[in-house]
């Protein structure tokens, strides 16, 4: 069995892992290794061939593969080692040892001064919904269908119903249509879409695909391959309303019903997770409860924008570099709490006495029009942000300026107030 030591080990070479590695390398950490389970770096961006990435970071509109390639090229130029086809089996949070396996190198045990968790997220599957019916072929999570079409060149079906209005589902509605399939409907349980508005416009409206809000799939039919689904309207308690059923003849059901940070390794390491984000609880530099273990990107909390993932991950990379050099100030922290209208604010803690900018990121718990997000510290208002709309489909960000952060002395609470 091989074993080696590195300064920083990054788990995952998607946009989060690449950005974290680049930041750490910029700070002079040379003994750096990125592990990736797929054959190519780039993560899920490789299959997101649509445009809309990079507007914030690169000031231009890129497709997923193009965005990923920029970070891959940058990492290569900098001489960052990315070991692909390698799966991490376990992380020991106390000793900072990581066990991984690959056919090229066998089982390896890698000890790192700092570890950056950047494993991304996975899609909620059908089982989690409890939808009754048959267990036939033709039911895919939207991302699986996206992989089949965009990376492997196969069509998973011809007549498609999409359950859930998450962004991947909306994007796949357009993709399947453009590649020659008929998308019959997009069905959303909630009275609002969980995807971005722009995607409703350019993926559904542009192609006359109806969006059924407050509806869900109540039956799945087909013994071998899917032959149809029954959709029904739901009441305020999300229960199907008898008599409202609509039958669709379709051979494919795509599910876009939520993403879950993939934290099995983190849990095994002893990282404390937040039940709200399903990601690690972190401080303002993305350090988990375990010293020297950082988390960033969709494994920390599910983002809407890769630009935000990259920014967050740069921060984690810089912080990990500082940790390795013994320059990361620790000590007491102040809690960040969710107030009314707010769910799953990250970070959950801010270190006391630091004067660095902090982005508070969260999901609104409902739809609020013309509302204001107010941040308080011990009852004193320290920041506010007005917006025409806050919705669960869009992550909200409120910046705390360095001088504000320096003056924090009590619990920070984030609230949305209706105007």
């Amino acid at each position: 069995m091989n074993s080696k030591c590195v300064d920083i080990l990054v788990i995952g070479a998607g946009p989060a892992g690449l950005a974290a590695a680049i930041a750490a390398k910029e700070d002079g950490i040379d003994n750096l290794l990125v592990l990736e389970r797929e054959h190519n770096p780039g993560g899920i961006l490789r299959q997101c061939i649509h445009n809309g990435f990079g507007l914030h970071r690169f000031k231009e509109e890129l497709t997923g593969p193009e965005y990923a390639q920029r970070d891959i090229d940058r990492a290569r130029e900098m001489g960052i080692e990315i070991q692909t086809d390698t799966t991490v089996l376990s992380v020991d949070g106390k000793t900072h040892t990581v066990t991984c396996v690959s056919s090229a190198h066998g089982v390896e045990i890698i000890t790192a001064k700092a570890i950056i968790l950047a494993m991304g997220c996975r899609e909620r599957p059908r089982g989690a919904l409890g939808t009754p019916g048959t267990r036939c072929a033709g039911i895919y999570s939207a991302g699986t269908a996206q992989k089949f079409v965009n990376l492997e060149g196969y069509m998973p079906g011809k007549r498609v119903v999409i359950l859930g209005s998450g962004d991947i589902g909306l994007i796949m509605a357009r993709r399947m249509t453009l590649q020659g399939a008929k998308v019959l409907a997009c069905v959303e349980l909630m009275p609002f879409s969980s995807g971005l508005n722009r995607n409703i416009v350019q993926c559904l409206n542009d192609y006359d695909i109806p969006l059924y809000l407050s509806h869900t799939v109540i039956d799945i039919k087909g013994r071998e391959r899917l032959t149809g689904v029954t959709v029904a309207k739901v009441d305020a308690n999300r229960q199907p309303i008898p008599g409202s059923e609509i039958e669709f003849d379709c051979d494919t059901l795509l599910l876009s019903v939520g993403l879950i940070p993939e934290n099995e390794l983190s849990e095994g390491a002893g990282v404390k997770l937040s039940p709200l984000t399903s990601g690690a609880e972190v401080d303002d530099v993305l350090q988990t409860n375990l010293p020297g273990i950082f988390a960033c990107g969709n494994v920390l909390h599910v983002h809407d924008l890769v630009d935000h993932v990259s920014n967050e991950s740069f921060r984690a990379g810089h912080a990990a570099a500082a940790y390795v050099r013994g320059q990361l100030s620790g000590g007491d922290t102040l809690d960040v709490r969710d107030g009314d209208g707010v769910r799953g604010t990250v970070p959950q803690r801010i270190r006391k006495g630091v004067s660095e900018e902090v982005d508070l990121m969260f999901r609104p718990s409902g739809v609020f029009r013309n509302a204001t997000c107010i941040v308080t510290c011990g009852g004193r208002e320290i920041a506010r942000k007005k917006a025409p709309i806050f919705t669960p489909g869009e992550m909200a960000v409120v910046k705390l300026k360095p001088e504000i952060v320096a003056g924090l002395d009590d619990t920070v609470t984030v609230t949305i107030e209706r105007s």
Binding site: A104, V107, G130, P132, Y154, P156, G180, I218
Partner: protein
């Protein structure tokens, strides 16, 4: 096509019979309409090796359950099938239940089940603290076990196959007649078969086959049971299998760990018309959850991996129908094999196999090929064992299913087994790839590729479970051309 012995049905019973008969000099063919073995009730049941107190003394169910359950530990060891024996409780919530449980204890004693006894509330709660505190008493059966029903079937089939039995899957029997030549003529949707000896182990279809041969008609009621399967968790709420007092529809709803450490809730019991209708329904699933709350007040479906249903073949008269087909020569059958069919299967195999061997004067083979040794699954290996495995076969280094930690080496091996997987579901049941929390979202494209490579079929021919259950309808190239 001629074969000495034709077995209809490749469920756990048919495979157990085939395995016993494969010890003898005879050509054996097993036919099943499914794309895999264990495609009927054998893949969708509770996976419990029942202790044997449920069935009335004197019935075949009682005798074969107890005999079969005794065979399980050694048989699982021999075949490399997972087995554990956590015990079981049957909960009583009233004095009326206490009387029922007393009857069950007495039955257990008469049936020869070791260690069955009635215990009081405090002992129940000490053993299983998450039990509904309103419990009054319980039957405790220390020998109740767990296994993986489909893995048992695969292992029986493989062992029969290495000893010469042929398996013909995706083939449905349409007619059975006795020819002038004294042979059985069996017509399927694919072929015509003749055989000297016919064995009917057709599960929910067994009465149909029986009635083709006999005027003494049997009637099977298709009884559907729906289940929830929950993800493996840090700590399971129960260590043992938790039953409720039985009713005339069956053993009632249970809450039980599976042998793999998942949690199983179910089954419902509904008599249905269509023997192939394994769909689940909102009412059935709600019934299961509501009933589970009696055992486990905090019952939750959080962490549900899937819901599924299986169909039990309930013969009207209630007992197993096993032996020679009345009024016919050279015909044998196992009909009405519902619970405790899985527990009884090894004993049924011995009983029917040896009966046939004796009556037909079969000659024992000089040498019986032992079962192929099953390698330890990668997920269960220590770090050192994993390192050795990859050093020996680098494909152990390619992890395909991250949720259940299944490697490419194991997936290829599952396809290459004597009765190998040919479908996504077949790979899933043999390796657990796709059985975890992402439900194959990440690994199914790769599993499909491996199947396509191993079986030399295009990706568009790979199916989930045979027939028309193709994963893909074509290439983007075809779709774009068609779209224009």
């Amino acid at each position: 096509m001629y074969t000495d012995i034709l077995i209809i049905g490749a469920g756990v019973t048919g495979c157990a019979v085939a395995r016993v008969l494969s010890r003898y000099e005879a050509g054996i063919t097993v036919i099943d309409r499914g794309a895999d073995v264990a495609e009927g009730a054998s893949k969708a049941n509770s996976g419990i090796v029942h202790a044997g107190f449920d069935a009335h003394p004197g019935t075949l169910k009682a005798k074969l359950n107890v005999e079969g359950a005794k065979m399980y530990p050694a048989l699982c060891e021999e075949l490399g099938v997972p087995y554990s024996q956590p015990g079981a409780l049957v909960l009583g919530f009233s004095e009326e239940d206490r009387q029922t449980l007393k009857t069950l204890v007495r039955q257990g004693e008469e049936n020869g089940v070791p260690g069955v006894r009635l215990i009081e509330r405090d002992e129940v709660l000490a053993m299983e603290p998450n039990t509904n505190p309103e419990v009054v008493c319980a039957l405790y059966a220390p020998t109740s076990g767990l296994t993986s029903p489909y893995e048992m079937t695969f292992a029986l089939a493989d062992h029969a196959a290495v000893n010469g039995a042929k398996f013909r899957l995706n083939e449905e029997v349409e007619g059975v007649t006795k020819g002038q030549d004294g042979l059985w003529h069996v017509t399927t949707d694919k072929d015509e078969h003749t055989c000297k000896i016919l064995v009917n182990c057709a599960g929910v279809g067994a009465a149909t086959i029986h009635n083709m041969m006999s005027s003494d008609l049997l009637h099977i009621i298709d009884r559907r049971g729906q289940y929830y399967l929950l993800d493996r968790m840090q700590t399971l709420p129960f260590r043992m299998t938790m039953f409720q007092c039985p009713t005339k529809m069956g053993k009632g709803v249970l809450v039980s760990p599976t042998v793999h450490g998942n949690l199983l809730l179910g089954p419902s019991a509904e008599d249905i018309e269509d023997e192939l209708d394994t769909s689940t329904t909102a009412e059935g699933l709600k019934f299961v959850l509501d009933k589970c709350r009696l055992t486990w007040p905090k019952a939750t479906t959080r962490g549900t991996i899937t819901n599924f249903s299986g169909i039990r073949a309930h013969e009207e008269k209630g007992d197993f129908v096993i032996g020679a087909v009345g009024g016919q020569e050279n015909a044998y059958e196992t009909v009405g094999i519902e619970s405790p069919g899985l527990s009884a299967a090894p004993a049924i195999g011995e009983m029917v196999g040896e009966l046939i061997a004796r009556e037909q004067g079969l000659v024992k083979k000089g040498q019986i090929v032992p079962p192929i040794a099953r390698k330890k699954p990668f997920h269960a290996m220590t770090t050192e064992e994993r390192a050795e495995a990859v050093a020996e076969n680098p494909l152990y280094g390619n992890l395909v299913c991250r949720c259940e930690v299944v490697t490419e080496a194991e997936i290829r091996e599952a396809i290459r087994r004597p009765v190998g997987a040919t479908t996504i579901d077949g790979v899933k049941r043999r390796t657990r790839a796709g059985m975890g929390r992402c439900q194959g979202g990440f690994c199914s494209p790769r599993v499909a590729e491996i199947i396509s490579e191993e079986l030399h079929i295009p990706m568009t021919e790979v199916t989930k479970c045979g027939g028309t259950s193709r994963l893909l309808v074509g290439t983007i190239h075809d779709a774009m051309k068609e779209g224009c």
